[in-house]
Symmetry: none
Subunit: 125 residues, 2 copies
Amino acid sequence: MIEFKLDIKSGVPFYRQIVDQIRYGIASGRLLPGEQIPTVRDLAVQLEINPNTVSKAYSELEILGVLDTQQGTGTFVAHKEVEITDSEKDRMLGQICDELVARGQQYNLTLKEIYEHMQRRIENE
Amino acid sequence: MIEFKLDIKSGVPFYRQIVDQIRYGIASGRLLPGEQIPTVRDLAVQLEINPNTVSKAYSELEILGVLDTQQGTGTFVAHKEVEITDSEKDRMLGQICDELVARGQQYNLTLKEIYEHMQRRIENE
DNA sequence: TCTATTGTATTATAATTATAGTACATTATC
DNA sequence: GATAATGTACTATAATTATAATACAATAGA
């Protein structure tokens, strides 16, 4: 399970922060395939937002195949079925890191700072 | 002078991205007090957005005392210190990492893979 | 079967964000 | 003084985001 947290000051829409945090959780291995995530109502209470906003995030991830939802039961991390070739993964890896550096540059964040931030977050898991 | 760049995928409002990039630019010393920044119309053309959106960003920064505007002349960096707190910097780091690690998840990239790729880049610098 | 819990759907409302178009006031410059 | 460029102001429109309240359908479990 992961801990959800909204940054009110960031300007990033709430539903979008939830989407990103779930995907981050999967990428970090803290959310495993088949694992249940909080119910729409529970997460809404926890984050002090409207259930519709949580539902919007979950729906978006279900359409993308990231989550499986079962009415009456709950919402679960999906079992990935799409296979991606190593070469494509490598290409995306480079692209993601390029983008990380470029985004960081806009806000005077160095490659090292970003790296160390990731390190801290990995260690605190 | 700084190079402005908008991240369309981030969900962060355009005017907000402009505000932050100017603030961080001043804080880092890449924008100097008294220096002229692009005109409302020029930046709008450059970023392919509406002039009103640029104007909104500039107005907000003028209220904060970060920019001085002179009708008929242009907009200039004010003689005022801009401080980016550690917590704000941390929030920005978190936001960028969340967004891009989440984006990598689409391609089955793990946090560890991204982290290690960054490490290799640092070593090759 | 009954009940509680789950996700889902709907309608309404409001605030925010962005665009489009137009116009005006101020300033520098020729 | 005339002109061009500047920031500013205004109205209108649309899409997005978030909330509120309600209801319905599916499931698990007593």
